[in-house]
Amino acid sequence: MNIVFAALSGLVFGLGLLLAGMANPAKVSGFLDLAGRWDPSLALVMGGAIAVGLPAFALAKKRTTSLLGLPMQLPQSRRIDRRLILGSMIFGIGWGLAGICPGPALVLMGSGKAEGMLFVAAMLVGMGIFEWLEHHRNNAS
């Protein structure tokens, strides 16, 4: 059952990205271009998502199990450390370079865009590099 809900969540998420314009890299770049002709649309994407998310996560935080009886696994860390900031900086640069982040990349791939497949392949390599570095770091310490 949790697999059905995961697929459904991914599907609705993807349809939302398409409708919102987030799956269009040119629109994302238009939002990130504050000094040019700025398209504020994506602020409304975030606003709409958070408006729905706020009550849902308030409810989720109070529960120890999900509605399907699975353990509630929300992040517990509150640490604002070098990893969080440095990683977010690197992500922000990559996001700005192409106007693509992980969710829209998968939607682009599904839409049959070669650039989507190229981006996802490079992203997987990047994630693999992270795993490799982590593995070596953990073995060294």
């Binding site: 995961a6 993807g14 849902a56 990047g126």
Partner: protein, 143 residues
């Protein structure tokens, strides 16, 4: 700053955002998890028993979304201006950065801000700032 009224899409963007919020809310309430795409994809690279099928299902849902859309209506416009090498560089940085920083626009941006997490707020402000700065340099300094 001048506003781009020609491309401004308040209602579809708001509606799309609400759908994204519903997906993240449903995933938290039913599956007990954060709909953080980079974390869901990244977790597939170091598989844990029993944690693979739901990840694959979520990713499949995202990939199938444009196929379902196209079976009902024409896909909205998708314009990609970045060159292939820039796409590769961007993908690499997004892959490393989202894993190192433990999240992206979905995990930190949508879910983290909805949970009122200070950690996610710091991450979101950081990647937004660097996204703005990168586009500024690309479009107004280098171009």
């Amino acid at each position: 700053m001048t506003l781009d009224w020609q491309h401004f899409t308040p209602w579809t963007s708001l509606a799309g955002g609400i759908l994204i919020g519903l997906a993240a809310a449903g995933f938290a309430l039913f599956n007990g998890r954060i709909a953080g795409i980079s974390g869901i994809v990244g977790g597939l690279l170091r598989p844990v028993s029993g944690q693979t099928s739901w990840r694959v299902a979520f990713v499949a849902g995202l990939v199938i979304a444009p196929l379902l859309w196209r079976s009902l209506a024409a896909l909205p416009p998708i314009e990609i201006t970045a060159s292939s090498w820039l796409i590769v560089l961007a993908g690499l940085l997004v892959g490393i950065g989202t894993r190192y920083g433990a999240g992206c626009t979905s995990g930190h941006g949508v879910c983290g801000l909805s949970r009122l997490s200070g950690r996610s707020l710091a991450a979101t402000l950081t990647f937004m700032a660097f996204g703005f700065a990168t586009v500024f340099i690309l479009r107004h300094v280098l171009a």
